[in-house]
């Protein structure tokens, strides 16, 4: 595919030559990434592959060393986080980023209130909490919850803001089987109205939700293919499992 063909058509997210260096370490290396409106994409890759750094560059938490990020065809490189978020981005970070000292309801309501009046925000918060299956925790202080429950609270915060692009960084980590199944349903439901990128290591979870997958390795895009092809790809197994793949073969 030529560059001209690649650039054709509307993309909710587009990166070109995106690079993030920390001193001598290149965490994200010349990444060209495209995401269509309403697409659900999974990002795979071993620890340290640059997936979370990539997310931070997309949301303005890090200013890329080089390259450009386009959201809804508008350049957002170097913009402040809140400006990018207000353009319609919601992110669940790798370590749950929640307000520990206040209740589940207040957490979700603060998210819903950003775009809604007080009355609508209350309804949105209550509906989202119920949808995420954490209604029984609604009055609990978030700092007292288990890791998996905190993950669901953060997901509820993301969904309550009704973003057009949802970034989920390891959302299934620390969840029980039931919580993971519910999460898969929620992600698939969210993907009906928004573009979604999910970073995850849990292959069972990825199989539940993903069709098209991008594999990161050493900061760069290593493969982009359908999930079944990725699972069969020896080179992908190699970067995930290293020498063990050879030994097993």
């Amino acid at each position: 595919m030529t560059d001209a063909e690649k650039d054709k058509g509307y993309r909710i997210l587009r990166t070109r030559g995106l690079t993030m260096r920390f001193g001598g370490v290149t965490a994200v290396d010349n990444v060209d990434f495209d995401l269509r409106d309403g697409e659900l994409r999974c990002l795979l890759g071993p620890n340290g592959a640059g997936k979370s750094t990539f997310f931070k560059c997309l949301t303005g938490q890090l200013v890329p060393s080089e390259g450009q990020v386009m959201l809804k065809e508008q350049p957002i490189t170097g913009r402040n986080t809140h400006e990018i978020v207000n353009m319609g981005v919601g992110i669940k970070t790798q370590v749950p980023n929640v307000f520990d000292g206040i209740t589940v309801y207040e957490n979700v309501r603060l998210s819903a209130r950003r775009k809604n009046t007080a009355g609508i925000a209350r309804d949105v918060a209550e509906a989202t909490i119920e949808k995420c299956g954490i209604k029984h925790l609604i009055k609990r202080e978030v700092g007292q919850l288990a890791h998996g429950q905190r993950q669901l609270v953060e997901l509820a915060m993301v969904l309550a803001s009704a973003p057009d692009l949802i970034l989920l960084d390891e959302p299934a980590a620390g969840m029980t089987g039931d919580e993971r199944d519910r999460l898969a349903q929620l992600v698939l439901e969210a993907a009906r109205s928004a573009a979604v990128i999910v970073v995850e290591h849990d292959m069972q979870f990825i199989r539940q939700i993903a069709k098209f997958v991008t594999v990161f390795n050493r900061g760069a895009i290593f493969r982009e293919a359908m999930i079944d092809d990725i699972m069969r790809d020896r080179a992908v197994q190699e970067i995930y499992l290293g020498k063990q793949a050879d030994a097993a073969a």
């Binding site: 938490q61 978020v85 980023n97 307000f99 000292g101 309801y105 915060m157 803001s161």
Partner: protein, 348 residues
């Protein structure tokens, strides 16, 4: 889901106690004690300024005295110059608040971390203190009022009835007026904290990154919180200046900033009642220690602070509130009454 402020019994108890003290205080209590309490009231307003920005905005200022002093000097100069205290009282809020906006802009838009924020606010206070000490000459005058260097500004007028410069308030009226200011500041802060703006402030205090990831401009929000706290500190400075009829550069001293920190820490960060109790308890203790020759009040206050930080790290009010709720729950369980443990909220 939301608990309305008007349905919070703690809020009403505080307001009623304040109003009873305002009305009955000068009738039931002797004038010397009333004047002593007036001092506590003024310093309580000062403590509330830090209690708000630190406890509900997550901004730890080591230089709250800068705004206290600025308000005091603004009031002193303008009231002497104008011969009336109404506009100067307004200016004592507006000028420090405007300075708070300017300083806050550089600190928060410059993305200073908490440690540097503490250092900057402390240094600004020291600069003001040094500057005020070097204004002894006749060339240092504003609107014909000499700043007086380390001798300060004497003969600051007592509060007068608006539009009647000669109708000064007597000590009982002054107490009632200041008590009214304290009640209004308390109510205003409680309303602000319960509002959406206040909830976002608490969110920013809890987790700045998440607040930004929800789309809130944390820099602008912090500047506003800081400016409100600066204005309240300035207002308390004006109250202090008129109460003493005198102000000197010690209004900008590190001791004033440190005292505010101690009051808030002792009473409990994240409450408004705690810092008021901190002022009353520690100022009363300081007064008692002043009567004992071999005790240095600052050393003793420091020691008390260390004990409190080690024994009651959350401060008096949050600790006793938790104990009270735990005791109440045990009592109810003992009587076989069902019901969950009530969460300890961060407000009063």
């Amino acid at each position: 889901m939301e608990r309305s402020l008007t349905r919070d019994p703690g809020f009403w108890i505080m307001v009623v106690i304040g109003l009873v003290l305002l009305i009955m205080g000068p009738i039931l209590i002797d004038m010397f004690t009333i004047m002593q309490i007036t001092q506590y009231v003024v310093l309580s307003v000062f403590a509330l300024s830090l209690a708000y920005i630190w406890g509900f905005g997550g901004i730890l200022s080591f230089g709250q005295a800068a705004f206290f002093g600025l308000g005091a000097y603004a009031f002193a100069v303008s009231s002497i110059s104008l011969g009336d205290t109404t506009l100067p009282l307004v200016l004592s809020f507006v000028i420090p608040a405007a300075f708070g906006v300017a300083l806050g802009y550089f600190m928060f838009y410059g993305k200073l971390s908490d440690v540097y924020l503490g250092v900057v606010t402390m240094v600004v206070t020291l600069i003001f203190w040094k500057l005020a000490n070097h204004t002894a000459g006749p060339e240092y005058s504003i609107a014909g009022v000499r700043l007086g260097g380390f001798n300060g500004i004497p003969s600051i007028p007592t509060i007068n009835i608006p539009g009647q410069p000669d109708a000064w308030l007597d000590p009982a009226q002054l107490f009632r007026f200041f008590m009214g200011v304290l009640i209004v500041v308390y109510i205003a802060l409680r309303i602000l904290i319960a509002s959406d703006f206040g909830r976002i402030s608490i969110g920013i205090r809890e987790n700045e990154t998440r607040a930004a990831l929800l789309g809130y401009d944390i820099r602008r929000h912090k500047v506003i919180v800081f400016a409100i706290g600066s204005g309240i500190a300035g207002l308390s400075g004006a109250m202090w200046a008129t109460y003493q009829s005198f102000i000197d550069p010690n209004a900008f001293s590190m001791e004033m900033s440190a005292k505010a920190l101690i009051w808030v820490m002792a009473g409990g960060v994240g409450t408004l009642l705690g810092p008021i109790l901190g002022v009353i308890g520690l100022q009363w203790l300081t007064l008692q220690m002043g009567m004992v020759e071999f005790l240095n009040s600052l050393v003793v206050l420091g020691a008390i602070m260390m004990v409190l930080v080690l024994a009651l790290p959350k401060g008096l009010v949050p600790t006793f509130k938790s104990l009270g709720i735990a005791g109440w729950t045990l009592w109810r369980r003992g009587r076989g009454v069902s019901g969950g443990v009530k969460k300890v909220t961060s407000d009063d």
